[in-house]
């Protein structure tokens, strides 16, 4: 009897795992199809009488990028300052406090600048996009688009993708700059050096490759956030509660996706 129950439970468990796996693969395929389709519309929509409207792209750039500037600036500044503080404190034991500058330069441009920008955009736009598309899905607005003959992907996803691909690198650069300034303010106070010296040393310790690594990641984040947020929106169902669930899921998955992608890219790009 006990063995029988154990076997049944084991079967249930494996079934559950299998089902999760299948939905995972499905989600992945869905996102990939979404990416391809929205890219096709972006590049070829002009010739299919369904161009992606620049006004829509501009609107998305405004809400995804421009409106995120204050938050990104503050977070990046604070993060740069914290890195300087921790770095100076740790390196003081070795009498190598001044090495903190090249540490900041590298880690900010390669890693934290873009990561902060990514997390802010994931939090702000990841939820907003999922909520907007989810609401449209439930109010049959997506169906209305389709019967009017407008591809929902072209109309909703392509402008977001374009705006993300432009704004994420911009935000990443802004974030880099603000983090470096944040580190600089602390360095001025603690290391008694001028801002000018600080910036010269930052520039001296940076190679173009460092910046390039950050920018590459920002493009990857742009694609990931777009796909996760829009696909969660399109698959939302179940009323107000379902919408809330889709929104939460979108933010959590966006952040998880960019952090994991960041790790993978760092592994390959820093060899």
């Amino acid at each position: 009897m006990a063995a029988e129950i154990g076997a049944a439970r084991f079967r249930q468990m494996t079934e559950a795992v299998g089902r999760k796996f299948v939905t995972g693969v499905e989600d992945f395929g869905y996102a990939a199809a979404l990416l391809v389709e929205s890219l096709v519309w972006l590049l070829a929509g002009r010739w299919m009488q369904q161009r992606v409207r620049l006004a829509a792209v501009a609107r998305e750039m405004m809400s995804i990028g421009v409106q995120a500037i204050p938050v990104v600036s503050i977070l990046a500044f604070a993060n740069g300052a914290m890195m300087a503080m921790q770095g100076i404190y740790t390196l003081r034991d070795f009498g190598a406090e001044s090495q903190v500058i090249s540490g900041i330069a590298m880690s900010v441009t390669r890693e934290f600048g873009v990561l902060i920008a990514g997390i802010v955009v994931a939090g702000r736009s990841g939820s907003a996009i999922a909520a907007r598309i989810g609401t449209m899905q439930m109010a049959q607005e997506i169906d209305a688009l389709r019967v009017i003959g407008v591809s929902p992907v072209r109309y909703l996803v392509s402008p977001i993708l374009a705006a993300m691909l432009v704004m994420m690198p911009v935000l990443a650069i802004l974030s880099d700059a603000m983090a470096i300034v944040g580190g600089g303010v602390i360095s001025m106070v603690e290391l008694h050096i001028s801002m000018e010296t600080y910036l010269t040393r930052i520039l001296a310790s940076l190679a173009p490759g460092d910046l390039f690594q950050g920018l590459t990641k920002s493009l990857v984040f742009a694609v990931l956030i777009t796909l996760v947020a829009t696909s969660n929106g399109f698959n939302a169902s179940g009323g107000a509660e379902g919408l809330g669930r889709a929104t939460t899921r979108s933010v959590v998955l966006c952040i998880a996706a960019i952090v994991v992608a960041d790790m993978i890219f760092t592994f390959f790009l820093s060899r």
Partner: protein, 275 residues
């Protein structure tokens, strides 16, 4: 009366459904549904909740792929259409969804102009005038600048109707025109539907569960029940039907089936045993 060109070239039915079968998971939602809609006809699809009438509409609109059978719009099998052909076909179809499905981020005027903007290359002014004309038809002129959230239920339906007819479609689909409206507004909407049909010579498919409205506007009625067609006929034929399930629908009789004790027990225990 002048016959529109589109109708002269295709004298047959504008909609032809043959043996449509659709499933949701393992469950059959529609089972062998066949019907035709003639040019200029108002076909009302009637049935209780869960009868599959909204599902049927979604398949007619090509929002899902059928699991069996065939749907022809203007004589073309919709499962074989290329995306370009679909685009051309979409111009000839107008849809008014149950909740209106107005785009919430746009005002009423922009909503009505949307199909024009996507399908034509008219200049802004012409689009404005055309949209205004259609809003005039549904008595909504002057409300262009309101957002959907500021409209009442009846106004939302009328604005959605204006958007549906802005391209002068040959088929107009209407999902639950009177759902959620008070009787007076619902009656207004019925009159509006008849007026539009007379003015535009358009075929209509109206999905509803409201008897009064159905009898008032229909040329023919399709009665759906549990995914199957009970009957297709004129208003009088449906009224005079002696099919018990149709009679229940007409007389609003509850149709809780008598509970068979053994069957009930079996259902209860079946689920438990599977674990």
């Amino acid at each position: 009366m002048a016959v529109p060109v589109s109708r002269m070239t295709s004298p047959g039915p504008v909609i032809e459904v043959r043996d449509l079968v659709t499933c949701y998971g393992d469950q059959k939602i529609l089972d062998g549904v066949s019907l035709t809609v003639e040019p200029g006809e108002i076909m009302v699809i009637m049935g209780g909740s869960g009868s599959g009438k909204s599902t049927l509409l979604r398949y007619l609109l090509g929002l899902h792929r059928a699991d069996g059978g065939e749907i022809r719009l203007f004589g073309k099998d919709i499962s074989t259409l290329s995306s370009r052909e679909w685009m051309a076909l979409r111009r000839k179809i107008g849809v008014s969804f149950q909740g209106g499905a107005l785009f919430n981020s746009m005002d009423v005027g922009e909503n009505v102009r949307m199909p024009l903007r996507e399908h034509t290359s008219l200049d802004e002014n012409t689009m404005r005038i055309m949209a205004r004309m259609k809003l005039e038809v549904v008595n909504m002129a002057g409300f262009e600048h309101l957002m959907p959230a500021q409209l009442s239920g009846g106004m939302i339906k009328r604005a959605a109707l204006a958007r549906a007819i802005v391209m002068d479609p040959a088929i107009l689909f209407f999902d639950e025109p009177s759902a959620g409206l008070d009787p007076v507004v619902a009656a207004d909407l019925d009159n509006l539907i008849l007026r539009i049909r007379d003015a535009m010579q358009v075929s209509m498919v109206v999905v509803t569960h409201e008897l009064e409205s159905a009898f008032k506007i229909a040329d023919r009625i399709t009665v759906l029940d549990r995914g199957r067609i009970l009957m297709i006929g004129t208003v009088d034929e449906v009224r005079g039907s002696d099919n018990p399930r149709i009679r229940n629908l007409l007389t609003r009789t509850s149709e809780d089936e008598p509970v068979d004790a053994d069957e009930y027990l079996r259902r209860l225990t079946e689920g438990a045993r599977r674990i």
